[in-house]
Symmetry: C2
Subunit: 425 residues, 2 copies
Amino acid sequence: MDIKTYMQSVGRQARAASRAVAAASTDAKNKALLAMAAEIRTRQAALSAANQRDLEEARANGLEPAMIDRLTLSEKGIESMALGLEQVAALPDPVGEMTDLKRRPSGISVGKMRVPLGVIGIIYEARPNVTADAAALCLKSGNAAILRGGKEALHSNQAIAECVRAGLAAAGLPEAAIQVVDTTDRAAVGELITMPQFVDVIVPRGGKGLIERISREARVPVIKHLDGNCHVYVDEFADPAKALAIVENSKTQRYGTCNTTESLLVDAAIAPAQLPAIGIMLAGKDVELRACPASLAILRTAGVADAQLKEAVESDWSEEFLAPIIAIKIVAGLDEAIEHINTYSSQHTEAIVTENYTRAMRFLREVDSASVMINASTRFADGFEYGLGAEIGISTDKIHARGPVGLEGLTSQKWIVFGDGQVRS
Amino acid sequence: MDIKTYMQSVGRQARAASRAVAAASTDAKNKALLAMAAEIRTRQAALSAANQRDLEEARANGLEPAMIDRLTLSEKGIESMALGLEQVAALPDPVGEMTDLKRRPSGISVGKMRVPLGVIGIIYEARPNVTADAAALCLKSGNAAILRGGKEALHSNQAIAECVRAGLAAAGLPEAAIQVVDTTDRAAVGELITMPQFVDVIVPRGGKGLIERISREARVPVIKHLDGNCHVYVDEFADPAKALAIVENSKTQRYGTCNTTESLLVDAAIAPAQLPAIGIMLAGKDVELRACPASLAILRTAGVADAQLKEAVESDWSEEFLAPIIAIKIVAGLDEAIEHINTYSSQHTEAIVTENYTRAMRFLREVDSASVMINASTRFADGFEYGLGAEIGISTDKIHARGPVGLEGLTSQKWIVFGDGQVRS
């Protein structure tokens, strides 16, 4: 069977299964999720063996250590897949929720009902645990899913897929509700993203290159997460202790996450007073400071070593460093801060530190990013911290879903009308 | 200037203006809308003259009467454009609305704020009043807009555009907030739908051909309205009087609208009892009945004239007739009705007529369409009837906006976080 025929068959089966999953009861979906978790625990040895095969091939192919790390499924990793499935089972079912009912002058009552999107295509890279996580979120939100993992993780993904299928079967749900593509042919991705008749939305999880390519070529809507060039703006009226703590946490708690701050903006009025302590704190943690001329002068005077200071260049304002590097700019005030962010940010997450109410509210309203915060660390931009219970990704789009995407982002709302024989006049 | 350069310049100006409009106060936006309405009334003679020029050219080019009709701007039509602007001014401003605030264990409060999408591209055909309607909805929802009307309406649209610009200027808003493309070159549409750096969403309004072409070629999300193949299902437990009234209104109140019913499904158990009256009512209004063999037999026995009866063919189940024609099928019960609708419907609007609670709720939940109704006419699927106050179109998509799209559909929600110095642990 050629790839096109194979993917069309996968798509057709997913579309058919999606109706059964959309109509499935909360009980059936939870039963499937708990059965999947039990299967994963029961088959732990088989999962380890499959993962071992992937790891041997990866080492033979000379994959880099970071990739090997993401590919590795430890005993603990297997247990957390099972726990993750159980956590999703415990979340409220979003499907069928009726809201916003209003009675209209015609006598009908109009409202909305939350419904699944249909078939979701997930495209990801080396991490095999995404197979279980994505399966859980798609199923609980009443969607069928087509999962396409990285070729490095093929055996691990297939072993997890067996547990998923067993769980679906245990709950009497169609096994085609969650399909894991079992070819490593890259053409499968090209087919998956160009079958609007079978796939309603694509969620790519991976590097910026993968996501840009998929967005460019897809004929299906894509919920995409590009980069996270997050900002903290320390306003003229910032509390110095809060500013120091928020910059420290936003930049240095973890360097590799998308909600890590990459640029610091400081109001000129308090830069001489507040920037020294911030600079010394960052330098003490071996963060490289790429500073504008004005902040460079303040940081030098404050005693930050030249080895950790560098004059910022234009490209630093747009860069997602994902490393112990921060860009620093002194701005004339709130207007320049907002203008700078709306120009250079990737519209992921930005925070202001201020005690001034009006400035805080202007920042909240005028900054055009998926998450905008007052006096809090950008590291909070996360599905779990926001209370979504789980997260399929963080969207930097504006259409449909913005910011952390949980079960709700995998659903839509239809209009519902309750009448008693009304007709339109 | 070539078309690409021209459209890029329009796009760049729209993007810049969109920030000012997003931050504009409700007062400023309403002031602009009311000033636009006043300009339209003041310049009524000039608008009529511009429209007359378009009409003369249209007649010279031999445009069909229906197109001439859509192009015509009567005195009454000009007054209703002005009234429409005033109605949008009177609607609540959706921008900045904060909802769903919840306190999290970390101490932060997380919620959502409604925000404009940015720049909206509207592509439409002959009706010049869309220029004023779309301008009003985009401005009130805090968006910049690029409007591209049909070439037949060029002079009318430019005359309306002058009123729009005068209104923006009167409120101190940038004139580039609403731009009307002033070239008739079709390449302008191709450029508009492939500038994701300047345009956030495209709303096409027009025939299915236009919308399909735009959806296929766009590199920007499209809120699309394809066809309306709406269904009424008369269930075994239907109240006969309600069934008759709802079928009559759904099919015959207006034949050319997208929420008109095109297919009637009747439960086999009550078809012999209820279909005769429905068939005679429809035949009495000169509606052609394209019936499945079983319904054909009942209708013949009931005395419906052969001239109005035709055996349905497969393509009738998918057809949007937009005419006094209805497809009729007898189904074995609710399951077959839902299966038929989910197979053939364009997912616009469907209604069940039943007194049975469980069947009504199953229909509501399992039918996968933008609007699903119990005991009400499909003709209610409309932004005004739903209480949206105005409507930019009806979406048959599932992503972002579904069904009638009002001001809310032209906005998104960002996450907002209120903290007091919290950092993530």
